[in-house]
Subunit: 368 residues, 2 copies
């Protein structure tokens, strides 16, 4: 399979409310990439916009705002998985030979309809994501006797990282006590264990291997992609509520494509829209054995969610998957600045989910 | 480049108003394909939904309705070009090796926001597509001294074809007099020269060459794809109003990829949302020389719009590009029934545009 590189990224500040439109948000990090890498402007032959907003034809709108005339421009949506779906699509457009330089940008505003699970009527009026997340948490905690304090460690650790990320929605640390004492949303999940809808955008530039060798860059290669869509709703999502079937499939396929194993992963962005999901992700991906995700979280030697995760950064759904890939790119190309966790990182992983684990994308990225 | 085949298609009746939701419409022709080709059900590893509707996560919703668990499921939008963009995306997912069996479906309801050009403020309150179409018509007619009666031949010829298509919105012929005497919408375009928004859906099944050889089918190959996005609005669309720059680029690229020439095309689906566009398409693609599109329409030996075009079939924007590809597939695989124009067709072309020619897709399809 042809190789595809990430050669640049930019992420906006994630904020509670911005005065920009979705298109303006989406164009922001693209403009930043093109300003910092002017040679890329002439190369872009595809613009993909990831968003769940109701704005029409964002692909050509963002292209026109940037002054770019690509071959292909379109919007892609698939709930919280929109961003990673868009990057997989960009990968395929390059690997197929149809395009050679794909700008993938994602943006959301917190009033987006993408936060509402309107098609899932299996849960009656329990239509907010926290309702299914609470089912997962209850089920997992019962099966593995996990204490609430252990669950609370997820936001504690991720907020430790987001405290170093000035673009995060929550650039501050929290303690276990603060998490435990924060308002209970749906038993057993507390406010600080639930991510926040917000406004934000993130973009990455993908190039064919040929172009990546020609431009000044430190390419990071997308070496594995695994995806799985089980359903549009909780009912068909996963046979067991203590693991997420789609992520298990996606992880296996991604590792197989990359020819790597979970133990090869140096740094990972894991989908932590709710605390329980990060613990389950570690197990679904094979980084930790079943029931030991919490222990791995605290003692494993894989760097987790260095940007601060979704809990720390906020969750503009169309942007999240792209911001995850942008962070792994930054870490593997040693551009993460104060958040740079090590200079010897070779292999990164991105794990992203749509509502209730209805779909999952796993990407493996390699420094060389 | 890896070869990608169309192996099945289905198109719903295009109607003024259906009582189905967008998701139900989109699932309809997919279910028909899977019923007629049960072997395909186990193969599908991607579901792409083309639609400009405001419904969320149509990819997984349609997958779940069909009882399919693909790797990737997502919605794609880019105005009237949504369907052909989705097929190009499906092509790339297969040619890249990420997927091997992509179900591409498109659906729209006539109340869709996809018919409104909300982002183009260059034309003040002239926001309906007919306003830019009238500019093209005026400009072309002035430059080439084209009589209004010649323009009227476009719906006359396409309605002759749609009269043989029971699924068309307008399955009846019209005369030049009827066109000329129909209500003037925007000078010089008359009602019968303007397409109608409607409800409808169409789907095609794409397979890798390997799978296409394994299943019982008469594969038709997508041998060329050309795409170009010039703008999101009329102002940046084309430097000259008597030709459509994006289509010229897309056509050249598609023929180059296929290693074919305009004279090789036996049958073509051309975007005729307004009469003038079909005449311009013939010239933009090199089928006719500049100013001679009208003559080619009446005397050329390429079969044009055998399903009845957009003027005859109606224009459910998300479905149109897919219905065009479905028709060329049917013609080249000799499955067009009463509309089968010849049994010796080898090469087909699909030409699709988004508003004001802001973007164009051209596909070349080959019987072997």
């Amino acid at each position: 399979m042809a190789r595809v590189a990430v050669v640049a990224s930019a992420t906006s500040a994630f904020v509670k409310q911005s005065d920009q439109s979705v298109a303006e948000l989406a164009a922001g990090p693209c403009a930043e990439i093109l300003r910092s890498n002017p040679v890329l402007r002439e190369l872009v032959d595809c613009v993909l916009v990831s968003s769940c907003s109701n704005e029409q034809y964002l692909g050509p709108v963002v292209s026109e705002m940037l002054g770019i005339q690509p071959k292909l421009a379109q919007r892609i949506d698939n709930l919280c998985n929109s961003g990673t779906n868009s990057i997989a699509t960009g990968f395929s457009l390059i690997a197929s030979g149809l395009c050679s330089a794909v700008l993938v940008t994602g943006a959301e505003k917190r009033e987006s309809t993408g936060y509402r699970l309107t098609s899932d009527i299996t849960r009656g009026s329990y239509f907010l994501p926290v309702h299914w997340a609470a089912l997962f948490a209850k089920s997992y905690m019962r099966k593995y006797q996990l204490a609430e304090e252990k669950l609370a460690m997820v936001p504690v650790l991720n907020r430790k990282n987001s405290a170093k990320n000035p673009k995060a929605l929550f650039p501050s640390e929290v303690t276990v006590d603060q998490v435990m004492n924060s308002r209970k949303i749906v038993e057993p999940l507390k406010l600080l264990e639930c991510s926040s809808a917000c406004d934000g955008a993130s973009a990455v530039m993908l190039l064919s291997e040929k172009l990546a060798r020609q431009v000044p860059s430190t390419p990071v290669w997308i070496s594995g992609i695994g995806q799985r869509t089980n359903s549009a709703s909780l009912a068909g999502s996963t046979p067991e509520l203590s693991r997420i079937d789609s992520a298990i499939h996606a992880g296996r396929d991604a590792f197989e494509m990359a020819g790597l194993r979970p133990s090869d992963v140096d740094v990972a962005e894991l989908h932590d829209a709710f605390s329980i999901l990060e613990i389950m992700a570690l197990e679904d991906l094979g980084l930790a054995v079943a029931g030991k995700g919490s222990r791995f979280l605290e003692t494993g030697d894989t760097v987790l969610n260095p940007r601060g995760g979704i809990l720390g950064c906020g969750h503009p759904v169309g942007a999240t998957g792209i911001a995850q890939v942008a962070e792994i790119f930054s870490q593997l190309s040693h551009k993460a600045g104060e958040r740079q966790v090590s200079s010897t990182l070779k292999c990164g992983l991105v794990h992203n989910l749509a509502a209730a684990g209805s779909s999952a994308t796993v990407m493996i990225m390699s420094a060389n």
